[in-house]
Amino acid sequence: MGKRTVVPFGPQHPVLPEPIHLDLVLEDEKVIEAIPQIGYVHRGLEKLVDKKDFKQFTYVSERICGICSFMHGAGYCMSVESIMGIEVPERAVFLRTIWAELSRIHSHLLWLGLTADAFGFESLFMHTWRLREQVLDLFEQTTGGRLIFSVCDIGGVRKDITPEMLDKIVSVVTNMDKELRDVTSVFLNDSTVKHRTVGIGLLSKEKALELGAVGPMAKASGIRRDMRTQGYCAYKYLEFEPITAEEGDSYARMQVRIGEIFQAIDLIKQCIEKLPEGDIITKIKGNPKGEHFTRVEQPRGEALYYVKANGTKFLDRFRVRTPTFANVPALLEILKDCDLADVPILILTIDPCISCTER
């Protein structure tokens, strides 16, 4: 029976993209349990519904997080459109799907770079982020911003994509497919990467169901659940299958996310082929009244948006339940019985986005 020590895994750590605090209880280099403490990025954004009316609130909901910014704006707009009963034009629906899938590629490439940095493989981190720059340049050409687009509005989208830009998107994405095969083969085949990820952080299927894990955490344990099959946005016209893996360790989660990048490239090409002509926005009149729950598949998992309106121009309540909030109990479970040196990799394997979690 060794002596127990408590080591704080502080809010500032080179491996963490955003601050979170964990108190690790150690016994001779093995972690017994972890106690979380969040709240470093809490800005109280949900209280702004009292001050900004429901049209100005689109800009607030986009700024909850920088990585998942487009999907937060789209989820809010979809909830308000369901309450008011507005029909969004078909072209706007397809354009939203193209931007959402490009967001998924950029978010997974960011995660791959941070994971490579976590086990010290810096040149691989730089090459992954170099590929991500091409996606950010595409965003700037089509919407005007690199991370925060301000392009989604209630009733449709605000900017159109010209046919030359569509050809450019297809050529950039096809080119990136070839370069990505080289870089991701390093992630999947290199023996140093395998040594740090195979067998680490096992989450069995029963435990994943019991703890309520969402997103790639659940998909890597064999649970086939993807909100995109429900057919919101343009997904009802596209053909795809959710990607799963069986083992439930960190290597399986990496395989699922890399598979999702290639699937997103395929979905973008399908969308561009089927893109119809038409308007991009419908005018809205009046104020919303009622409530609605919407579920959207973000890169990190399933997110829930709840909007409640009472007929005036200010909303009653807006609530986001982000996927990282649902994955924190799974994190506390996989941290038990691991070595102290594996703690940074395990925290990154749930893809933490703390500014989304705390709003």
């Binding site: 399933e302 709840y306 309540r317 909030f325 924190v328």
Partner: protein, 115 residues
Amino acid sequence: MDEQKIKEISPDEILIETVDLHSAGYRLVAISCTGKDGVELSYSFDKDYDFIHLRVNMDYDTEIESITPIYGYAFLYENEIKELFGVKIKNIIADFHDKLYRISEEAPFKEKEEE
């Protein structure tokens, strides 16, 4: 999701309803709270894309039981609601006692009577 199945229950029936849903295989998606004109809690459950909600309407002084004995991971949602709204939830396993966010003002989302 065009129709949403919302079921109204009273604060005392919450434990019985959650035990029924747990044995039927539903998972807890989220617990939401609105604080205008009294407290309105919404418990959202899902199984194979079948999405249902339980709604509890009460005021700030009523106490409600925690569902952490059944769904262990609900402690995060209930601690957040207790800290931000000031709703009285009792018997939470892993109660943080208002130290989850450590904000300086007590229950900022609660409607204050004097403006």
